[in-house]
């Protein structure tokens, strides 16, 4: 970049110096009104012998007068003088050659560098855009993965919750069935125990009553009869 700027500034300096140098002869070739009039007078004196003769000849005088008046006429605003064309063309050729030799390559080099830099910048921008797109794609992929993972986690949690609810319901059902079975067994046991207690109580009452009746009837004779009956039973084997 610095090299290109330096070369461009050098080319401009050389062009300005050549213009100033070559423009000076062109300026010196320029003709004033007075010079033109003198030149016309000199030409008339040489051509007619003396200016006095011209003054006496009305036709020559008018011709000289016309020549001098022509000096007053402005030069063509469009068509330059020949020497200007020559000097200007030479200066242009020199300048053009110099520019073609030094300026244009420098400008072209700077423009090429600039174009290369712009192309590089465009490439870098394009690469950055590609990178950004890749990063965006990566982020979108990661986001999609995260969403999928989150959905999977939610689904797993929901399935676990369903399984847990099912297990709890099954366990509760089992416990209820077990409690019912245990309650039924307890009721049956209590009922059996109550019946047994009732039977025992009835037996105690009945046997107690029988004992009281028997004891009341077991007098000495009855006791002796029981002993004798026992002895006979033992003897019978």
């Amino acid at each position: 970049m610095t090299h290109t700027i330096r070369r461009t500034a050098g080319a401009f300096g050389i062009a300005i110096a050549a213009f100033v140098t070559l423009a000076a002869p062109a300026g010196a070739a320029g003709e004033t009104i007075g010079g033109c009039a003198i030149e016309a007078a000199v030409y008339a004196e040489e051509a007619y012998g003396s200016l006095h003769a011209v003054e006496e000849d009305e036709e020559l005088f008018k011709k000289l007068e016309k020549e001098m008046e022509s000096c007053l006429e402005a030069p063509s605003p469009i068509i330059p003088e020949v020497d200007e064309i020559i000097w200007g063309g030479a200066a242009f050729a020199v300048l053009f050659g110099f520019m073609a030799w030094k300026g244009f390559p420098a400008v072209k080099g700077a423009m090429d560098d600039r174009a290369a830099k712009i192309a590089s910048d465009l490439d870098a921008a394009e690469q950055a855009k590609v990178d950004a797109s890749q990063v965006k794609a990566d982020h979108e992929a990661a986001l999609a993965g995260a969403k999928a993972e989150a959905n999977q986690i939610i689904e797993d949690a929901r399935q676990q919750a369903d399984q847990l609810r099912t297990d709890l319901q099954a366990r509760a059902s089992e416990e209820i069935a077990e409690m019912r079975s245990r309650a039924s067994a307890d009721i049956e046991s209590a009922r059996s125990q109550a019946i047994s207690d009732l039977r025992s109580e009835v037996a105690s009452i009945a046997v107690g009553a029988a004992e009281r009746v028997i004891q009341g009837n077991l007098d000495a004779a009855a006791q002796q009869a029981l002993v004798d009956a026992y002895i006979e039973e033992v003897a019978r084997g």
Binding site: S204, V207, E211, A220, Q223, Q224, V227, A229, V234
Partner: protein, 176 residues
């Protein structure tokens, strides 16, 4: 070891009774004392309590038996109790009765009755048992009102139960 000790005490009781020439009386008294102790858990506990002084335990024996039994019986029971074997008194006396009967080639038959038995009934019962078992027996009668009526005879491990109490038990079981 415990059986040897009980046997030793039983032999001692029989030897002393024989030496005093009052075997029949002493054996009968010992049997009644042992049955009384067996029937009263508090009495058995008092006789076997080694925490009580010996004099106290002997005093209980003398107060309990006193003039009701012969001096030999009182001395023998006191000897057992003084040696700290009061709790084993029923077992010692049972073993003594068994060995005494065995010395006469007989088996001991323990008969429980609600009423006293006459000699005739005892002899007929002994004959009936001999008829049934083929062995001579020596009958020891224990008055037990819980029998209610009839008899319960124990010969070794065999029991012949013809009591009203058993009938009542059968009746009670029939309700269940």
């Amino acid at each position: 070891m415990a059986d040897d000790r009980i046997g030793g005490y039983a032999d001692a009781l029989l030897a002393v009774a024989a030496a005093e020439g009052t075997s029949e009386v002493v054996e009968d008294e010992l049997f009644r004392v042992a049955e009384a102790a067996r029937a009263s858990e508090s009495l058995l506990t008092a006789l076997g309590d080694r925490q009580l002084p010996i004099e106290r335990r002997i005093g209980v024996v003398e107060d309990l038996l006193g003039p009701k039994v012969s001096p030999t019986t009182t001395a023998l029971v006191s000897m057992v109790v003084a040696n700290g074997r009061g709790a084993d008194l029923p077992a010692i006396v049972d073993e003594a009765m068994i060995r005494s009967a065995a010395g006469r080639n007989r088996q001991l038959a323990r008969v429980r009755s609600a009423v006293e038995l006459g000699d005739d009934q005892v002899q007929r019962l002994a004959q009936a048992i001999k008829t049934r078992t083929g062995s001579d027996v020596e009958i020891r009668v224990v008055i037990d009102e819980s029998v209610m009526g009839g008899l319960i005879t124990e010969i070794g491990d065999d029991v012949i139960d013809g009591s009203v109490r058993r009938r009542m038990s059968q009746l009670r079981e029939s309700f269940n």
